[in-house]
């Protein structure tokens, strides 16, 4: 039972990540393969605020969002000028740089050893520690994030983002500032991803750079591809599927545990391969 709760919690955390990435990639078509970094900055920011400056959960969560949004400027601003095809490697180099910074800036992040002892969230006096209470809290938070994302999608702002994905020049010709929209989209995506960072920190009570590496960014991407880039329901389903799937592997008795990592990666790779070729629109059937 504990195990199922654990999976559910991880699923909720991942849903926030993929829904926020969807704002960038699904709506605006910005292929920023560095989402795990925003996840990581959120995690480290809130952790350090809580441990070194004694912030409590909610203020740490909110401040981490602001910090991460500001960080997103580093990639958003130069990213405006570069050609769309380069965005992939640009974001990817951003990912690798910050990953190495997390790994090597020992004074700040304790490097590969990670930061243990992150306190459980205390909200209105309640210490949220048991898996059930964490699950409920995270359910509330992730629902809020999904709700926000849906509102963004159907707003005039969201329409312009979708326009940007289609044809940037046309967007300019109807009087919309593409630059401003991209920067704001980045800020939102980053801030929401940072929420996941805070959530994983207090849940596991420990963070290390390994959680936020390129594999994680790729995983988030595959969740989108699997579920259908752009459609929130699809993205959520895709995330649930891809998070839960490898866990099922544990139940195959004959499988040696050393192979698990490789098999999981293989599954993800095959999912991506299959969908790129046969069903780029994802699992959820076309509606509308």
């Amino acid at each position: 039972m504990e195990y199922l709760l654990h999976i559910a919690i991880i699923i909720l955390i991942n849903i926030i990540l993929s829904v926020s990435f969807n704002i960038l990639m699904g709506y605006a078509g910005i292929f920023a393969l560095c989402h795990a970094i925003f996840y990581g900055i959120g995690a480290y920011a809130s952790t350090l605020l809580m441990i070194h400056w004694g912030f409590s959960f909610i203020p740490a969560l909110l401040c981490a969002m602001v910090i991460t949004a500001l960080f997103s400027l580093i990639i958003a601003v130069p990213g405006l000028r570069i050609h769309w095809d380069y965005m992939v490697i640009f974001a990817f180099s951003f990912q690798m740089i910050l990953y190495h910074v997390m790994l090597n800036w020992i004074d700040l992040t304790r490097g590969p050893q990670g930061i243990p002892g992150i306190p459980a969230p205390i909200i209105f006096g309640f210490t949220v520690e048991s898996k059930i209470s964490i699950l409920l809290l995270y359910l509330v938070i992730s629902s809020a994030v999904v709700y926000l994302a849906k509102k963004i999608e159907s707003s005039p702002f969201g329409l312009v983002l979708k326009g940007i994905k289609n044809d940037e020049l046309a967007v300019k010709s109807i009087g919309k500032n593409v630059t401003r929209h991209k920067i704001i989209a980045f800020a939102f995506a980053a801030a929401l991803a940072s929420v996941s960072g805070t959530l994983i920190s207090v849940y596991v009570s420990y963070i290390s750079p390994a959680y936020f590496d390129l594999n994680m960014s790729v995983f988030i991407l595959i969740c989108l591809v699997f579920g259908g880039i752009g459609k929130i329901q699809g993205v959520i389903l895709g995330t649930i599927g891809l998070t839960a799937l490898p866990e099922l592997l544990r139940f195959i008795p004959s499988l040696p545990s050393t192979m698990l990592g490789g098999i999981r990666d293989l599954i993800y790779a095959v999912v991506l391969l299959f969908f790129m070729l046969y069903r780029p629109q994802g699992i959820v059937p076309e509606t509308k």
């Binding site: 707003s155 329409l159 046309a170 010709s173 704001i184």
Partner: protein
């Protein structure tokens, strides 16, 4: 009645090709100006420069007597000058209604929170306005169809509607009717453009291949050939210039 938009001494080259040389155009307020010329004459390049998408090597663009040469394209639209595209450039994955609604200017009642978090479908004022425009263009019944699923003719109409939606004073239309059937052009587009000028006080400049249409509709016509203005004036005058007609109709 003065000049609302002016291009002075425009030069623009691409690589080895001089697309525009010493181009001077004056677009009169509340009138329809035409721009004709063979393919490759530089008409679209001129539009691009007037609307801020390309910067000229030499020359100035003046809008309401203010220089806008260096302005960004979206700022130019906000100032009151918008253009449509030869290649339409509609948002293919969105519906007709969405294409129109997103082109409407930001209303005063919309603050930042509303723009980002409130569904556009809840903005009754914008919805009504969008539907009005679609009605004018006679494609109201296709409002909820994706652009991808429209016929070419319908898409051309949406392109015009989207330009109208920007509510700009000066409209530059790049081949708005080429490819449309005569009936639609005569019954829908031509009267609409005339009405926009007469009733709504808009200024229109259009590029078209049909000389007949241009001479029919426009108060002033500019003829562009190989990057230079070879003739300018009222259609009546131009059509009486034998030398010009011979030279021109051979090319066009």
């Amino acid at each position: 009645m003065g000049t609302i938009l002016e291009g002075k001494g425009i030069y623009k080259g691409f690589g080895g090709l001089q697309a525009l040389s010493n181009v001077n155009v004056k677009i009169e307020e509340k009138k329809i100006t035409g721009l004709i010329g063979p393919n490759g004459a530089g008409k679209t390049t001129l539009f691009n420069i007037l609307s801020g998408f390309i910067k000229p090597e030499k020359g100035k663009i003046l809008f309401k007597d203010k220089e806008i040469t260096r302005e960004k394209p979206h700022d130019v639209v906000l100032l009151g000058l918008a253009r449509s595209w030869q290649g339409l450039r509609l948002f293919e994955n969105l519906t007709v209604l969405e294409n129109i609604v997103m082109s409407l200017p930001t209303y005063k009642s919309e603050n930042v929170a509303k723009i980002i978090f409130v569904p556009w479908s809840k903005n009754k004022a914008k919805l009504t306005k969008a539907m009005e425009i679609l009605d004018l263009i006679t494609i109201k019944d296709r409002a909820f169809t994706l652009i991808r699923d429209l016929s070419f003719a319908e898409q051309k109409l949406v392109a015009v509607a989207r330009l109208l939606a920007t509510d700009s004073e000066v409209l530059l239309l790049d081949e708005p009717v080429s490819g449309l059937d005569e009936k639609t052009v005569e019954k829908v587009v031509t009267p609409l453009l005339r009405e926009l000028v007469m009733k709504n006080g808009k200024t229109i400049c259009l590029v078209e291949h049909s000389i007949k249409l241009v001479f029919n509709m426009c108060d002033t016509v500019y003829c562009l050939n190989q990057g230079e203005i070879v003739a300018a004036g009222e259609p009546r005058q131009l059509s009486q210039d034998e030398k010009l007609k011979r030279a021109f109709f051979q090319i066009v």
